[in-house]
């Protein structure tokens, strides 16, 4: 048996265990969401009929329920949904009257730019701020960064969004009010720059808040590194503090920072829900909120599956990066 063969088996075992975990996770999350929607006080037919409830007869309500398949017992509905899911069909959204997959793909495309920008910005700035704070630990700079991060960590995203909206869109008139493209312009005429303008405020909101945890974790970790024996040894050899950080610090801090950055996918998703509400940005977050408020079970379950995959992918990437970035984990057998 060669080393290559052993490695193959190890990789396959690793993959199998990940797939198994994802499958069980998805089943559990879907069943739980379905059950929660079932016991929630929201009656989808009522939510749909809304203010017209005086004009829609019980017979018509029954027809609406039948059209949506709500006349069947919940267990059977979940089973039917699972069977069609296995065939790759996510079902049809009740409120959009469109296939769930179409809605999600459309909405996610809009969210992707928003979340991607925010994620990159908060990663870069957070890491930089954390390193600077650790380098000048105890000084005014460090305290200022720490205060800044703690203030932001306790700032509600929607409030910050409104604040930015007031300052940049209303007072200064520099940026648009919301939406993802200019008002009154056909989609084919919308330029790249237009899209960028509309992305700035929501992305800024999302990234300013995302900076805080990355910066604080990086700072703490780097301070630990700088207090370690090998840092002390380097210092004794006469290396400068900045030199120590560049040669010894960054390498050791990069791993936790990367982990945190990829593990923050879930917070990113949650933050996007709020930012999209404030800026009327038509992304996946807004679609999920609508689905929840209207009891649109197919769309909500679709969004749940999607967000689960999204967050899982984040964690998986963090896991894999560990192996790539850190030579020590490669030497050990995969778990």
């Amino acid at each position: 048996m060669t080393g290559w063969g052993t490695r193959m088996i190890a990789v396959l075992t690793y993959l199998a265990s990940k797939v198994f975990r994802l499958a069980t996770l998805l089943i559990a999350v879907c069943a739980l969401s379905f059950w929660l929607m079932h016991v929630s006080p929201i009656d989808p037919v009522q939510a749909y009929v809304g203010a017209d409830m005086m004009l829609v007869s019980p017979e018509q309500r029954a027809e609406i329920a039948e059209r949506w398949g709500l006349d069947k017992p919940p267990g059977e509905r979940f089973l039917l949904w699972t069977v069609s899911l296995a065939q790759g069909d996510l079902g049809t959204s009740m409120i959009h009257r469109q296939p769930v997959s179409t809605v999600i793909v459309e909405r996610f495309a809009a969210s992707l730019a928003l979340m991607g920008t925010a994620w990159t910005l908060s990663g870069v700035f957070g890491f930089a701020l954390g390193v600077i704070a650790a380098r000048f630990r105890g000084t005014l700079t460090d305290r200022a960064i720490k205060w800044y991060c703690l203030t932001l960590a306790s700032t509600p995203a929607f409030w910050l969004g409104l604040l930015l909206l007031m300052v940049f869109a209303v007072w200064l008139g520099l940026l648009p009010m919301g939406l993802a493209s200019p008002v009154g312009v056909l989609a084919e005429d919308v330029t790249w720059l237009d899209r960028l303008r509309h992305l700035v405020l929501p992305a800024l909101t999302l990234s300013i808040i995302g900076v805080a945890p990355i910066a604080l974790h990086t700072r703490q970790k780097l301070i630990d590194v700088l207090a370690s024996d090998y840092a002390l040894f380097a210092r004794a050899r006469g290396e400068s503090e900045t030199g120590i950080i560049i040669r010894h610090g960054l390498r050791n801090v990069a791993l936790p920072a990367l982990t945190l950055q990829f593990a923050s996918f879930s917070e990113l998703f949650g933050g996007a829900v709020l930012a999209e509400q404030v800026f009327s940005y038509p992304g996946i977050g807004q679609a999920t909120v609508q689905a929840g408020l209207h009891g649109d079970v197919p769309l909500l379950l679709g969004a749940v599956i999607f967000s689960t995959l999204f967050v899982f992918a984040g964690n998986l990437i963090a896991d894999l990066l560990y192996r790539v970035v850190d030579p020590r984990t490669q030497a050990e057998a995969p778990a």
Partner: protein
Amino acid sequence: MPGNPRSSVSAVIAVLGLVLAVLASGCARADSPSAPTASDERPRDEIVVSLSGEPEEGFDPVTGWGRYGSPLFQSTLLAHNDDLEIVNDLATGYKVSDDGLTWTVTIRDDVRFHDGEPLTAHDVAFTFNTAKESGSVVDLGVMESARAIDDTTVVFMLSEPRSTFVVQLISLGIVPRHAYGPEYARSPLGSGPYRFVEWNQGQQLIVEAYEDYHGGAAEIKRVTFVFMGEDATLAAARAGELDVAAVPASFAGQDIAGMRLVAVPSVDNRGIMFPALPDNGKTTSEGAPIGNNVTYDLAIRRAINLAVDREVLVEGVLEGFGSPAFSVSDGLPWSSPDVVFDDGDPAAAEALLDEAKWIEGADGVREKDGLSARFNLIYPADDLTRQSLALAVADQVRQIGIEMIPVGKSWDEIRMAMHSNAVLFGWGSHDPTEMYNLHHGALAGREWWNPGFYRNPVVDAYMDQALAAIDEEEALELWRKAQWDGVTGISGSADAPWCWLVNLDHCFFVADGLDIGPSRIQPHGHGWPITANITDWRWE
């Protein structure tokens, strides 16, 4: 923590300011060459309108688009004019058979869809038959079938006489048989005043005037409807990006440069429903208790109606953006003028209670045969306006020795409690069916209809006759009689099953110089109905 906290705070502010400044300058550089958005730089025949209520399911009348009338892209057979009288749109006339079961509508032969195809009776029949099968909010349960006799005549067969079927003729937009399919809702095509151009869901809808519109082409050639939240709408209005902005009444006090406030009256009403049965320990099949011994007493219900000062509620709770309400349908053609009475009269209310032997007890609350005039007034806990109304009304009736205890509950709880407690509801529709469903004895306790189990055989008879009437005028007269026929009725000074409080105004900010014509009374719900007369909008 070491250090002077004040210097740390200022440091934070300095850093925050610096970060924002850097980001802002970066943005400004990147953006300066792009298109201007302020309203004065838009062409004069274009407007931008922000409305709440983007229809997620699209613009298909068959599944409910435009059910408040005037569906924008499509035409309807009949329409309301600004006084809510029924006038012809596509129709040239309609006739109801003597048994009330056959409605024959003749239509114009010169109307074309936006793609140039003629609109015929076959399209009308197709629309109604498709809507009946759609399993949507469009309720055509009473219609058996629709059939085109020739190109300009369509016949509707009903299963029973129903004068309110006319509402369907007013609200259901006609779709083209030749261009109707699964994608229709996302690219609607009709014969209405505006042509569909583009819908970017969650953001905006762009439409252009249809030059060959049979009602005369609109002056505003291009309208962009944007769909934003309330805060974003207000901010956009301030930034000069909007020409018409629908805002909640709580924002109406704001001052926006270059815009004026237009408060449109509505039948979007709020009122208190009283259980009209005594509590005999009975419950519904779901187990909800029925009846309330205090509100069962007619004197109590009438006294509350008399004592409440509706003007004070309008000024105090709605900040002037509303009007006193005396029925579920104030100002609509079927509303009786006799429902209005002099309210805010605690002396008359107390006299009524004295006469009915409700005597003031030790705690200031009246009593009768050991029963205190005390009951819950339930309102949906998430609705601030209703909460304020409940508190204000409770305060007013306290003066006459009746204690209403305001309690906030979820809709789920209200559903179980509404047969035995007073509840603050809100209704208001351009369809008299609503009055029928709220007051008819046979519908007591069905869904949300007539939750108080009110029953008056005389009222029931009037409403049944109104529903079965063949002539529209005759139907209107019967609806009015159900409210007050000189002896009895559902009015607040007669049976008083409800105490109507206020009608809300719907508030819009409109750009100076944009004339949106006379606004008709709006139904419950906010937004699209304002576009009913959009063909008359113009820049001055």
